[in-house]
């Protein structure tokens, strides 16, 4: 029964990873841009929600909306103000400039909220549920259900709508997409906004799940997100979903049955192995490896 417990734990952890990974796969995979401040977008999403609930006395729904709005704007701003100009210098310049952005954002939030972890207001009705010998709680259910809902919506957007198809066209081949009449620059902006919204939602969920947030929280999660999209396949949305859950489960089980110290090593080790033996990722990447 502990096993089942661990499975739920793994799924919950995995869900937050998936949301982060989805954002990454949109940017790194489909747009093939480097964005090292994505973790900070997540962090800011968490803080926006915290401010709305704790200081403006809003409820979780409003907090979520707020987080979505702010992170969408933030993502677009980061793209427009920096990445777009810097791209001409090649791959590596956005790497450096977005790290600069990450540092500035971390510092700003440290100045505003102190560097310490602060308690994230718990507004969900918390109840333990026992079914048979298994126990789980409402918070876990909420997170898992919400995440899956988001994943489903994203999937439908990408597969079903014009925008989604345009995004995929642009990632296949920018020139051809342009010839087909797609406004490439708009699509890029929309993709960025989408990815950032995912990160923002993830930030709020992390706050709910783990009861606290702090300005440097984006760093570690960001790194994991990167590993996950490699494992799943860059640009592959379904791949990101599966591998996010996979990594979540893997980490929880390695903690339970082996040792937590190696947890990170397993995730990154798996990533390294995939890159060596199946560089397109477990589920294949959208485009051929460059």
């Amino acid at each position: 029964m502990i096993f089942f417990q661990q499975v739920i734990n793994g799924l919950m952890l995995g869900c937050t990873y998936v949301l982060v990974a989805l954002g990454y796969t949109l940017i790194f995979g489909l747009l093939r841009m480097i964005h090292m401040a994505h973790g900070e977008v997540l962090m800011i999403g968490g803080y926006v929600a915290l401010v709305i609930i704790a200081y403006l006395h809003g409820n979780l729904f409003l907090a979520m909306l707020g987080a979505i709005a702010v992170t969408a704007l933030l993502g677009i701003t980061i793209y427009a103000a920096s990445i777009r100009y810097v791209e001409k210098g090649g791959h590596l310049s956005p790497l450096v400039s977005t790290i600069g952005i990450a540092i500035v954002l971390q510092e700003i939030f440290t100045k505003l909220f102190t560097g310490e972890k602060i308690a994230f207001p718990q507004t969900l009705v918390f109840k333990n549920i026992q079914v048979g010998g298994l126990s789980f709680n409402t918070v876990q259910i909420f997170i898992i259900v919400l995440s899956f809902a988001v994943m489903f919506v994203l999937y439908r957007i990408l597969k079903g709508t014009m925008i989604g198809k345009s995004i995929r066209a642009v990632s296949e081949n920018t020139e051809t997409a342009r010839l087909l009449g797609i406004r490439v620059s708009w699509i890029v902006v929309i993709t960025f906004a989408l990815a950032s919204v995912l990160a923002g939602i993830a930030g709020v969920l992390v706050g709910i799940a783990y009861h606290s947030i702090y300005p440097l929280m984006g760093i570690e999660i960001g790194l994991k997100g990167l590993a996950i999209i490699i494992i799943g396949g860059m640009g592959n949305v379904v791949g990101a979903m599966f591998s996010g859950l996979l990594v979540g489960l893997m980490e929880v089980f390695s903690v339970a049955y082996i040792s937590s110290s190696y947890k990170d090593a397993f995730t990154f080790g798996l990533m390294v192995l995939i890159l060596i033996w199946k560089p397109e990722g477990l589920f294949g990447s959208v485009t051929e490896k460059r």
């Binding site: 417990q5 952890l13 310490e116 308690a119 992390v206 606290s212 980490e251 937590s260 110290s261 947890k263």
Partner: protein, 385 residues
């Protein structure tokens, strides 16, 4: 293009020149001390807290007339929570700013790289927080630590906990990335528990910053211990306890020095009620000195409480002040070396100093002989059970 190059070279030359010469800042008669605190980087939260404690001490002293009639000037450098920057800051303070003593650094990893420098330049470096066991001992005679290791503060707490809850078996969860907690969880607690005849059913390990404790809690649940020992940073401990309560694992908890900080209570909320710890600093202490300090602190820091490291830093400033006054420090630039040595000699033999945490003496290992209050978490405060 050539213009750019020229401009660049001249800027570099200017900057290097700037660094080679010390810019006069303090008045001749000022008493200058150095402080190394992490104001950016991962330890910012603690650093900010500690700085408030430092500022309170400096302001109090200067308002009362300074040290021997001279203004106390504190030169504080940010270590960015990194060893390299601590080294640079230390060297600057020791060899360019010519401070009489250095308060800090904060982290054990910073102290590991600064204490050798303290001995090289023969200047006292007294940390208010680097509690890694054996650290001061390994860097005699100039490395000092006014912070207690769990070996000193925990015995009364463990005693109380085991007796009150009739603990026969425990599970221990440890953060093995953090040297301090690793030692507490894997060495100190087992040793203390062993002497009480308590059996350890199982252990679980993780690395700092773990966000998800569900796996560990589930594991312990399966073992059904009488009590749970937590040896990790306050944020992780809070996370663990909350998760445990969520999963219905409502056993008595005991934690090490890392959870003393009020922040732990804030994060863990009501779930922490009943948790025991041993601490050298008790925020609710009604003793006059302590209370005054806590009140002033909360006034300056938006109602937030000091953590033990801020209290220790406050003491350190007063310690050095007392030594300067008592050991004949002249504060003349030509006497810099002998002044620093006087401070070291005085510190080494200091007995019965009254600070905001209580009265204590400096040991021959370079640490302090503070023992622990037994504290219990109750409704967001640490109280005496």
């Amino acid at each position: 293009m050539a213009r750019r190059l020229f401009r660049f070279v001249s800027v570099m030359a200017f900057v290097i020149g700037l660094l080679t010469f010390s810019l006069p800042g303090a008045q001749a008669a000022d008493i200058t001390l150095g402080a190394l605190i992490p104001l950016t980087g991962f330890a910012t939260g603690f650093g900010e807290n500690q700085k408030v404690g430092l500022d309170i001490a400096v302001d109090e002293i200067n308002k009362a007339g300074g040290i021997k009639g001279n203004t106390l000037k504190m030169i504080t450098y940010d270590t960015e929570s990194k060893g390299e920057k601590a080294i640079l800051g230390f060297r600057k303070q020791a060899t360019q700013d010519n401070v009489l003593a250095i308060l800090g650094p904060f982290l054990s990893t910073e102290a590991e790289v600064c204490f050798p420098l303290a001995n090289k330049y023969q200047i006292v470096s007294i940390s208010a927080s680097a509690a890694k066991p054996g650290l001061a001992e390994a860097h005699r005679p100039y490395g000092f630590i006014n912070a207690t290791s769990d070996m000193n503060t925990l015995p009364p707490a463990v005693d109380y906990w085991v007796k009150t809850h009739n603990i026969k078996t425990v599970c221990i969860v440890t953060d093995i990335k953090d040297a301090l907690n690793k030692s507490t969880g894997q060495i100190v607690f087992p040793k203390l528990l062993e002497t009480k005849g308590v059996k350890i059913l199982g252990t679980s390990e993780f690395v700092t910053g773990e966000m998800d404790f569900s796996a560990h809690v589930s594991k312990f649940k399966g073992m059904s211990p009488d009590g749970i020992v937590i040896s990790c940073t306050l944020a992780d401990a809070a996370g663990f306890i909350k998760e445990a309560k969520k999963q219905g694992l409502g056993k008595p908890f005991i934690g090490g020095v890392a959870i003393q900080a009020p922040k732990f209570l804030e994060l863990a909320g009501a779930d922490a009620n009943g948790t025991i710890t041993g601490s050298s600093f008790w925020v609710e202490n009604p003793a006059a000195k302590s209370k005054a300090f806590v009140q002033e602190f909360m006034k300056r820091y938006g109602g937030r409480e000091p953590n033990p490291f801020a209290a220790n830093m406050h003491e350190n400033v007063y310690l050095i002040k007392q030594l300067i006054e008592a050991t004949g420090v002249t504060n003349k630039p030509s006497d810099l070396d002998t002044d620093r040595q006087k401070i070291q000699k005085g510190l080494e033999t200091l007995k019965n100093f009254e600070g905001v945490t209580g009265t204590f003496s400096v040991t021959k290992e370079g640490t302090v002989d503070k023992s622990g209050y037994v504290l219990m978490a109750k409704d967001g405060k640490w109280v005496k059970p």
